[in-house]
C-alpha cells in the first residue's frame, strides 16, 4: 500500500510539473497585462517601471524558473489586480466554492440514488421511463440557462429566494458557513440546486444501470433463496455492490462540480473561485490564472488518489495487499 501511494505521489508531482509548464507557457501568450493595468495616459518611463516591477522584462525561461522556485515555497505570485498573493486570494475564495460543491453533490446523491434504485427495480414501467427521460432532460439542460430559469421563477416571479451573492455567513463548529444563518441558507439554495441538477441526472443513470446489472446475479438469487427480505436485499446487498462504482464517480465528479461551479458562480454572483477565475481571465490577471490552475490540478490529483484508496478499501478484490476475504 505504501509503495503504491509513494509511486502515485511521484507520478502526481510529474503531472503537476507538466501542467505548470503548459499553463505558464500558455498564459504567457495572452495579451500584455501592463496595457490593462496602467491608465491610458501613462508615459513610457512608467510603463518600463511597471514591466520591471512585474518581472515581465526577463526571458520566459527565467520567469518560469523563478515561478517554479517560488511555487515550491507556496508563493504563486501576486495578483496584478488585487495586489495580494494569488494563492491567498484563491484560498480565501475556496471555502465558498467547496461549500457550494458539497451541497450540490449532497443533493444529487440524496435525491439521485433513491430515484435510480426506484427506476432500476422496475425496469420498463411507466415510472422507470419517466425517471430515465427526466434524467436525460436533466443533463440536456444547459446549466447556465437552467440557472437563469431558477432566478426567473424563484427570484423574479415568486420573489422567494435571493438571486445573487452569498448572504451572511456564520461560524458553525469552527467553520465559516452559510448554514449558520437563515439568510446564508436562502442564498445557498438556488446555486446549489443549479449546480446539482447535472450530477443528479448522472446519479440516477448510474444507480439504475447498477441495479439492473446486479439484480440477475447469483448472489442476489442466493439471498432470495435464503429468505432474505426484499428490502434488505436492496438496501444491504444491491446497494453495497453498486456503491463502489458510484463512489468512484462521486469522487471524480467532485472535481467536475468544482469546475462547473465557474458557471453557477458567474450567474449567481457567488464569491467563489470560479467567479474569481472568470474575472481574472477578463482582466488578464496572470498570476491568479496560473495559481488557480495549479490549485485545481493539485485538487484533482488528491481527489483521484483518495478515490483510488477508497476503492481499495471498499472492494476487497482491488486491495493491494491480498488478504483472505
Amino acid at each position: 500500500m505504501l509503495v503504491f501511494v509513494i509511486r502515485r505521489l511521484l507520478q502526481s508531482a510529474l503531472v503537476l510539473l507538466a501542467v505548470s509548464l503548459v499553463v505558464f507557457a500558455g498564459i504567457y501568450a495572452i495579451g500584455n497585462p501592463v496595457d490593462i493595468l496602467l491608465p491610458d495616459d501613462a508615459n513610457e518611463t512608467e510603463r518600463q517601471a511597471a514591466i520591471r516591477a512585474l518581472g515581465l522584462d526577463r526571458p520566459l525561461l527565467v520567469q518560469y524558473g523563478i515561478f517554479l522556485l517560488k511555487a515550491v515555497q507556496g508563493d504563486l505570485g501576486t495578483s496584478f489586480v488585487y495586489n495580494i498573493p494569488s494563492i491567498e486570494l484563491i484560498f480565501s475564495r475556496l471555502p465558498a466554492t467547496l461549500e457550494l460543491a458539497m451541497c450540490a453533490l449532497f443533493i444529487s446523491i440524496a435525491v439521485g440514488i433513491p430515484l435510480g434504485l426506484w427506476a432500476g427495480l422496475r425496469p420498463g414501467t411507466k415510472t422507470d421511463e419517466a425517471i430515465v427521460t427526466g434524467s436525460i432532460l436533466g443533463f440536456s439542460l444547459p446549466s447556465f440557462w437552467q440557472g437563469l430559469m431558477l432566478i426567473m421563477i424563484f427570484s423574479v416571479t415568486l420573489g422567494w429566494l435571493p438571486s445573487n451573492g452569498r448572504g451572511a455567513t456564520g461560524t458553525l463548529f469552527g467553520i465559516e458557513t452559510s448554514f449558520a444563518t437563515w439568510d446564508g441558507f436562502t442564498h445557498l439554495l438556488l446555486p446549489a440546486i443549479n449546480l446539482s441538477l447535472f450530477k443528479l441526472a448522472l446519479m440516477i443513470r448510474l444507480t439504475r444501470a447498477g441495479v439492473r446489472e446486479t439484480m440477475p446475479l447469483d448472489f442476489i438469487k442466493f439471498a432470495r433463496a435464503k429468505g432474505v427480505s426484499e428490502t434488505r436485499i436492496v438496501l444491504a446487498h444491491v446497494l453495497k455492490y453498486i456503491l463502489v462504482p458510484i463512489i468512484t464517480v462521486i469522487g471524480m465528479e467532485l472535481g467536475a462540480v468544482i469546475a462547473f461551479a465557474t458557471v453557477t458562480e458567474t450567474i449567481f454572483a457567488w464569491p467563489g473561485m470560479g467567479k474569481l477565475i472568470i474575472d481574472s481571465i477578463n482582466k488578464l490577471d496572470r498570476p491568479v490564472i496560473v495559481a488557480y490552475l495549479m490549485v485545481v490540478t493539485l485538487m484533482f490529483i488528491v481527489i483521484n488518489l483518495v478515490v483510488d484508496i477508497l476503492y481499495a478499501l471498499l472492494d476487497p478484490r482491488v486491495r493491494i495487499k491480498g488478504q483472505t476475504v
Binding site: G26, I136, P142, L148, M152, T262, I278
Partner: protein, 307 residues
C-alpha cells in the same frame, strides 16, 4: 443477432447483409416512440438551420431591416409596417424567431463540425494505439488519461482564455476536449477486434497495415463511435453555449444560441423573459432530442443489452 462479418464473407453479398441489418436496427430503434419523435425533431432542426436564410422571417444580420424602435417588444407584437414578431424582439430590435434560427444554425455548425473533427482525430489516435501497442500505446493512453482527468469546460475555458474569441478557436477548443473520449473508446474496441480471426485472415492475405486498420478494423468499431459521437455533439453544443454565455466563446457579431441567452440575461431581471427564455428552450430541445437519439442508439447498438 451478432452479424459478425466472417473472414470469408464475399464482398458482393455484404451490401444486402448491411441493408437487412440496418432495417433490423431501425425496427428495434422505432420500438420507442419517443426516440422516433426525437429523431424527427433533430431532422427538422437541422433542416431549419440549413435553410435559415430562406425560412427566417428577417435577416438578423441585415441592419437595414432592423429598427431600434422595435426593441424589446413582447411576443406577438406587430410593428407599424405590419410585421409580426411572434416571439418578440431583443434589445436591438431584432426579431427573436429569426435570431434564434440563425443562432441554431451557428450552434449546430460548431457542434457538428467540432464533433466530426474530434471523431477523426480520436479515432486515428485510438486505432494507432491499439494497433501499434507497446510504448506508443502507453504514451498515447497516458495523454488521453491526462486529458480526461480535467473537466471539459475547464480545459475549454483556459484554451479560449489563451486563444481569444472566434468560431475557429471555439471549434479548436471543443475538438481538444473531445478527441480523447473517442480515442479511448476506439482503442478499447479495436484491441478486441484486432485479435479476431478476420484480422488474422487479412494479415495472412498480405494486406497493408493501413488497409487492415482503416478498412477492416475501423468499420467494426463504428457502433461505439456513433453513440459517443451523437452524445458528444450534444455536449459540444451545450459547451459552446456555456462558453459564449461566459463571454469566452463566439464573438458578439456572431450570435449563437448561448450568446442570445446571455444578451437576454440582463433583461430577465426586469421581467422581459422572452429574450433569454425562447433561445434557451430551443437550445434545450436541440440538446435533449440529440441525447434521446444517442441514448436509444446505445441501447440498440449495445450487444450486451440485446436479447
Amino acid at each position: 443477432m451478432n452479424s459478425e462479418i466472417s473472414p470469408t464473407a464475399p464482398t458482393a453479398s455484404s451490401s444486402t447483409v448491411d441493408e437487412s441489418r440496418l432495417r433490423m436496427l431501425w425496427r428495434e430503434y422505432a420500438e420507442r416512440r419517443g426516440a422516433v419523435v426525437a429523431l424527427i425533431v433533430c431532422v427538422v432542426l437541422l433542416a431549419a438551420a440549413i435553410l435559415a436564410p430562406i425560412i427566417a422571417p428577417q435577416n438578423p444580420y441585415d441592419l437595414s431591416v432592423i429598427d431600434i424602435f422595435d426593441s424589446r417588444l413582447p411576443p406577438g407584437s406587430v410593428n407599424p409596417a405590419g410585421f409580426t414578431y411572434w416571439l418578440g424582439t431583443d434589445g436591438q430590435g431584432r426579431d427573436m424567431l429569426s435570431a434564434m434560427i440563425y443562432g441554431l444554425r451557428l450552434s449546430l455548425f460548431v457542434g457538428v463540425l467540432s464533433g466530426l473533427l474530434a471523431i477523426s482525430a480520436g479515432v486515428t489516435v485510438g486505432l494507432i494505439a491499439a494497433y501499434a501497442g507497446g510504448a506508443v500505446d502507453a504514451l498515447l493512453m497516458r495523454v488521453v488519461d491526462f486529458m480526461l482527468g480535467f473537466p471539459a469546460i475547464l480545459v475549454a475555458l483556459i484554451l479560449l482564455a489563451v486563444l481569444g474569441q472566434g468560431v475557429d478557436k471555439v471549434i479548436f477548443a471543443l475538438v481538444m476536449v473531445q478527441w480523447a473520449y473517442f480515442a479511448r473508446a476506439v482503442r478499447g474496441t479495436a484491441m478486441i477486434e484486432r485479435n479476431k480471426e478476420y484480422v488474422e485472415a487479412a494479415i495472412s492475405l498480405g494486406l497493408s497495415r493501413p488497409r487492415i486498420v482503416f478498412g477492416h478494423i475501423l468499420p467494426n468499431c463504428m457502433p461505439p463511435i456513433i453513440v459517443i459521437g451523437t452524445m458528444q455533439i450534444a455536449h459540444a453544443i451545450s459547451t459552446e453555449a456555456t462558453l459564449s454565455f461566459l463571454g469566452l466563446g463566439l464573438p458578439i457579431t456572431e450570435p449563437s444560441l448561448g450568446l442570445l441567452i446571455a444578451n437576454g440575461f440582463s433583461f430577465l431581471l426586469s421581467g422581459l423573459y422572452w429574450i433569454s427564455v425562447f433561445p434557451g428552450l430551443l437550445l434545450l430541445v436541440t440538446i435533449f432530442s440529440i441525447n434521446i437519439v444517442g441514448d436509444r442508439l446505445r441501447d440498440v447498438l449495445n450487444p450486451r443489452l440485446q436479447k
